[in-house]
Structure formats: structure tokens, C-alpha cells
Symmetry: C2
Subunit: 207 residues, 2 copies
Amino acid sequence: MPTSRTGSATPRVTKRRVETRNRLLEAAGQVFAERGFGRATVEDVCERAGYSRGAFYSNFASLDELFFALYTSQSSALVAAVAQAVAVTPPGVTLEQVVDRVVATLPISRESHLLNLEFAAYALRHSEIATSFAAHRRALRDSIAPILELGLLAGGLAVTAGRLDQIARAVAAVQDGMFLQELLEPGNADLPTLRRKILVEVITAGG
Amino acid sequence: MPTSRTGSATPRVTKRRVETRNRLLEAAGQVFAERGFGRATVEDVCERAGYSRGAFYSNFASLDELFFALYTSQSSALVAAVAQAVAVTPPGVTLEQVVDRVVATLPISRESHLLNLEFAAYALRHSEIATSFAAHRRALRDSIAPILELGLLAGGLAVTAGRLDQIARAVAAVQDGMFLQELLEPGNADLPTLRRKILVEVITAGG
DNA sequence: GGCGACTGATACAGTACTGTATCGGATACA
DNA sequence: TGTATCCGATACAGTACTGTATCAGTCGCC
């Protein structure tokens, strides 16, 4: 059997193919955010990306597969970004600085939040995905935990690992909840400030 | 022109019609929660309700209209429930009791939360609905504000109206965020407890 | 620079959903 | 109890989407 026989298993990964795939992923992010995954069609994504449906089916077996690929891509990028932020954080930072860093690192765009809603909704309806989604969120909490601990230590507060995870959960909850409020009331300029305030309160109260 | 001429304007509201409408609404809640609004079809709702598509179009012009009717119905019911809880709350309750009351009043079922996600996602994509959705959330905050104030006063804390609204926002954010975590990790029995803990912290820290 | 492999455009069949039109039968009311 | 009203079942046409099959042009590799 010849080594590079028909691509049934692994089509050669050419530059062109990578480019196509990436543009499809990017277009999918926009379309899913705009219309919602449930209302998005293969045609929508192709039109946005500037490809035909042939190109799509050459790269993905279905919309579901593309959706999952997008989710994987986004979440690994996010974890990497958080890890990077933690790595460059010096010891001795104040709690306010920690909150600023966390807020600055986590995604802020309308599109990313809408996508997150889509991912969450999808996960809640597909238990196998829910497991993966929950694991991803745990990874995120584990990533920000060290930076939170730094801020607490700077304030003279020491906490157990279990308590730290609870604080990380509270931070995640406030982030999710407040960001939804901000999206619903884009005209309310006080909300970002309020969000930071609540985050600081939640962290200090937890320590 | 005869008064009760053709139903073009207002079809007579018979008992039968009310029943049909209610069963369609109930079925819609289940179907939208299960499949998501984007994936739900008129046929799905009819099948679940035990009616034919003719019955559906006799009562609603489109799925969108049914969706909005469901949203209206649910949100007014929720506001009423909260108002009722506030009305029967005696002065002098502790903060923990207040939290318990708030938690007990706000919707808890998986279905109601999934529906809320659908409503939020829809609102974020339709600005005219977003306004209405935001107004509804404001009404809810305004409803729980008095009960929160009661709890704070019992602890000897007095707050301004503005500060009270900020606390209500924090409570809403924690509720939304923590409930999502609970749904994603149904096996984690510690989360409801943690949610109460965070709620208490957020309220006291705000006072 | 030429050849073979593969990408992505186009065409097509099949399916699913929507919305309307029609009509039998149930229901409210005298 | 009779009857006019209208509810809701069924049938149908039109549309949109999916997934596959085919093929021309292009790219990678020697």
C-alpha cells in the first residue's frame, strides 16, 4: 500500500488548505454570533468566508463539526492568553491590579460573548460536550487562581486551595453575569466600573 | 357593519381557544428549552402540544410571535412571584433569610434557565427586544431591592438607593453566573451552598 | 517545467419546513 | 335542541437547506 494514497484518512495539509480552514473558522465565529448557531446555515458561513459549499464540505463534515472546531480553537486560545498573563505578573501586585489584569485578559468583545452563550447553550443540550465545556472552565479557573492568590497575599491574606477555587468560581460568575448586563445595556457606562468593584468585593470577602 | 363580523380583528375568546393557546405555550417552553429556539419548528411545538399545524396558525402568526408571547408570559409571572415574596416578608429578617427567600423565589428549573438563555440570546440579537428584556430585568431588580434593604437594615446597615441597585445588579450577576455553573456541573452538590455564600458576601460587602 | 494529486466551484436530488387554503365537526348561545 | 360560528385537521405549493457527485483549475513535488 502506497504511503500517500488517497486522502480518505489524512488529506495533505497544504498552506492553501490551512488558509481556507482558518477563514471558514473566522467566518463561522461571525455568523454564529450574529444569527446564532441554530439559525446559521452552511451557506451563510461560506458566503461570509468567500468560499463555495464545496470548499466547506472538503474541510468539515458538517456544521456541527465546524462548531466544535471553533469552540476548541477559541478555548485553547483563551487558556493560552490567561496563562501568558499569569506568567508575566510580578509578585506584590495589588488586588486592584489583579482585577484589572483578569478583566483585561478575559474576552471582551460582543462577538466573543455571544459565541460563549452559544457554546454554553450547546453544551447544556449535549452532555458529552457539557463535560468538555465544564473541563475547559475548570482549566480557566485553575489558570487565574495563582494570580488571584498573588493579589490576596499582597493584601496579607492567605487562603486554602479549596477556598481559592471558590473565589475563582465567584469571579467567573460575576464576569459572566455582569458581562451579560453590559451587553444588554450598552449605553450604561457605569457597568464596567461596577463590575470591577464587585470583583474586588468578591475576592476580598472570600479571602 | 355588524359588531361581531369576521374574526379578522379579534376572534372570540372561547374557553377552548384559551386552553389551546396555553397548551401551545407550555409545549413551546419545553421545546425551546430542549432544542433551542433556533432549531425548533412549528411542527415540534404542535406535536408536543398534541395539536396540528392548523391549530397553531389559528393562534399565532409565526414562531417568533409565539416566542415573544412565551417570554411575556414567563416574565410577568416571575415579577408577580417576586412581588408576592416581598409582600409577605416581615421586617427584621436576617440577611441569610433574605438570601434564602430570593434564591427560593427566582426560577430554579433547568428548563427555565435554558429558556432564559434563549431569551437573552434573542434579545442580544434584536435591539427592540433587548430594550424590553433590559426593562424586565430592571423591574426584577427593583422588586428584590426592598427585600435586600430589609436584610441590610436588620444587620444595621443603611444604604442609598443607588447603592441598593448596584447590590441588586451584583445579586443578579451572581445568580446568573452561578446557576450556569450548576447546570454545567449537575453532580457538584457544593455549588448551591457556594452560591448562597457568595450572595451573602456580595450583599454585605455592598452595604 | 511537467505531471499527478487535490482543492474548491457547480449541479443535482432529496428532505424538511413554512404558510395558506379548504372543510368537517365541535361549540356557544338562543 | 337547533344553528351559526369558528376551531383545528388535512392537503398542497413553494422555498430553503443539506449532502453528494462531478470536474476544471491549481498547487506541490520531483
